[in-house]
């Protein structure tokens, strides 16, 4: 706590006697105190001497991000370290949130170029643990309306790298293929395409367009098709009207996460225009990554143009429908489970009650829960493009997550994020733990024969 003892007779020396500007009990002379402790940042554009090459792209970049970077660099709490999934498995100091901010400070001073550090920024799942656990967010972020922004800083540095022609090969190829096919290449060498984006709904006879549409992410649409099939059939069971998009493209979020911002914006524009063309006002989202795109990226891209679109997370909707009695899970599911809080729901959105509400409504389950705060340090490693560039890191993070589940002596790990379920399933095989999506589990308890696959079309196996 700031000490406010000003010594005998008070005083007006703001360096030796910290004070709070604006307080009515400040000495009168401090009321007129001119803040001269910190110099203004040196101009990096105007006033450069003749012959000066001017600011580097990194320095121009740093003018936008210097406050966010110094917010971390000048505090140095480092509570972020032990909740960071990458740090937990690598102990690499260059891959910590602290380093990601310190690099920006060094770039501002001209000591680093983005080429020097771009590869370090691969090592982040953008789970948001560091920025939430940072005291500058958790204890003062809402007070000052100024919080730690590691995810934004990482995305911005990645975008700067792409802008400067510094590419990570895996990401460059991934986004080029996404651009070509309008969907992420989640099936590896098996191409995905626009013609097949609704194949998951085969036999369900779902309408197109309408006031409410269900948006299905690339992983669920092509790889874990059991998830959208479960969601669609549960919605139908509850008499909830919805359609599918006429021409759905990838949400663009992964491209934005990897630094390919122009591509992300093009994809976002396409989707918004498509919603407009069908009179859509409400978008149902089953994937937490899409939920981030639609509630954080799209508002930044479109501003007021986005005002009439409502984005609804399916897991919240299902909890509500259960509460209202429109869904009543009644088929017992005899499993011993624990729940994996998807990072983008728990840490980045504060959504953790509703999934537990759903699970507690399913009869037959033995639920060995782990609280949401403990799970700030859990992650599947499946986000932020990490599995594309560093699959071995994703596997190590998932392995660690499954060890936590195994210690609870469960037979099933339930998640609410299709992107987490592939790496978790692969790690779960070694622990003899099934990884099941919460929507699949709810559908089973509602007596729905879901269909679809949980491991892609080539090696597909039936879902619940």
């Amino acid at each position: 706590m700031t000490q406010t003892d000003r010594g005998e007779g008070g005083g007006a020396d703001a360096l030796s006697s910290p004070f709070t500007p604006g307080m009515r009990d400040n000495p009168a002379e401090l009321g007129e105190y001119v803040d001269g402790i910190v110099g203004r940042p040196l101009p990096v554009v105007d006033g450069a001497p003749v012959g000066d090459p001017g600011p580097s792209p990194e320095q121009e970049f740093a003018t936008e991000w210097r406050n966010a970077a110094y917010n971390c660099f000048s505090s140095g709490h480092k509570f972020c370290r032990e909740v960071c999934p990458v740090m937990q498995v690598t102990r690499n100091e260059s891959w910590t949130p602290t380093a990601f901010h310190a690099n920006v400070v060094a770039m501002e001073k001209g000591d680093l170029s983005v080429e020097d550090v771009a590869a370090d920024y691969v090592n982040c799942t953008q789970c948001g643990a560091c920025e939430l656990r940072c005291p500058n967010t958790l204890f003062t972020g809402d007070f000052y309306r100024f919080r730690t922004r590691t995810v934004d800083v990482v995305k911005a540095v990645r975008a700067l790298a792409v802008d400067q022609g510094v590419h990570q090969e895996g990401w460059r190829t991934w986004n080029a293929r996404t651009d070509e096919r309008t969907h992420e290449p989640v099936l590896g060498d098996t191409p995905v395409s626009q013609e097949h984006v609704r194949d998951w709904s085969e036999g369900l006879d779902l309408p197109l367009g309408g006031e409410t549409v269900l948006f299905v992410d690339c992983e669920a649409a092509f790889y874990r098709t059991s998830v959208p099939r479960a969601v669609a059939q549960i919605l139908r069971l509850a008499d909830y009207d919805f359609g599918l998009m006429g021409e759905q493209w990838c949400c663009g979020g992964p491209a934005a996460e990897m630094g390919y911002v122009d591509q992300a914006k093009r994809f976002a524009r396409h989707n918004l225009d498509n919603w407009r063309s069908t009179g859509t006002k409400r978008v149902l989202v089953l994937d937490p990554h899409d939920y981030i795109s639609f509630t954080e990226d799209y508002p930044r891209y479109f501003g007021d143009e986005y005002a009439d679109i409502e984005v609804v997370l399916v897991v919240e909707l299902f909890a509500q429908l259960i509460r209202e009695g429109r869904l009543t899970p009644s088929v017992p599911v005899e499993r011993t489970i624990t729940y994996h809080d998807p990072c983008r729901l728990n840490k980045r959105k504060g959504i953790w009650k509703e999934p537990r509400e759903i699970l507690r409504a399913i009869p037959g389950l033995t639920f060995n829960d782990v609280d949401r705060v403990t799970q700030w340090s859990y992650c599947s490693g499946g986000g932020g493009g990490l599995p594309v560039e560093k699959p071995e890191l994703t596997a190590a993070i998932s392995e660690r997550r499954l060890e936590k589940a195994a210690a609870l002596e469960v037979d099933t790990l339930v998640s609410a994020c299709p992107w987490s379920e592939r790496p978790l399933s692969e790690a779960g095989a070694g622990q003899d733990i099934d990884v099941v999506d919460i929507h699949e589990l709810l559908a089973q308890s509602l007596g729905v024969e879901v269909g679809g696959t949980t491991r892609g079309p080539s090696t597909g196996e039936g879902a619940a």
Partner: protein
Amino acid sequence: MNAGSDGRSIGYRYAEQHDPPDPVRVSDVAVTTFEHVFEVDPRLMERWVLQQQFPNWDSLRIMNSRHDHLDWMHRHFAHRVVVGSELLAEVEQEGRG
């Protein structure tokens, strides 16, 4: 759209995210908006460090997470909760002794 489990409305609408409840002054330098959300007087954030764009959900997320975290800390590390006035009385007692 009806309320979620904690009484808040489910569903994100851009237009609802940028106007918190009217601020109520709680001290010379602070205001309150949502219940349990206290904010610095924004006039004090106009010079060196400007405030960030802060949608309502983010303020509420941080406030709720802080409470959850403090509960978690108490559950894990506090054997008992002591009222501050008790401690002060104890110190005063020791001073007299």
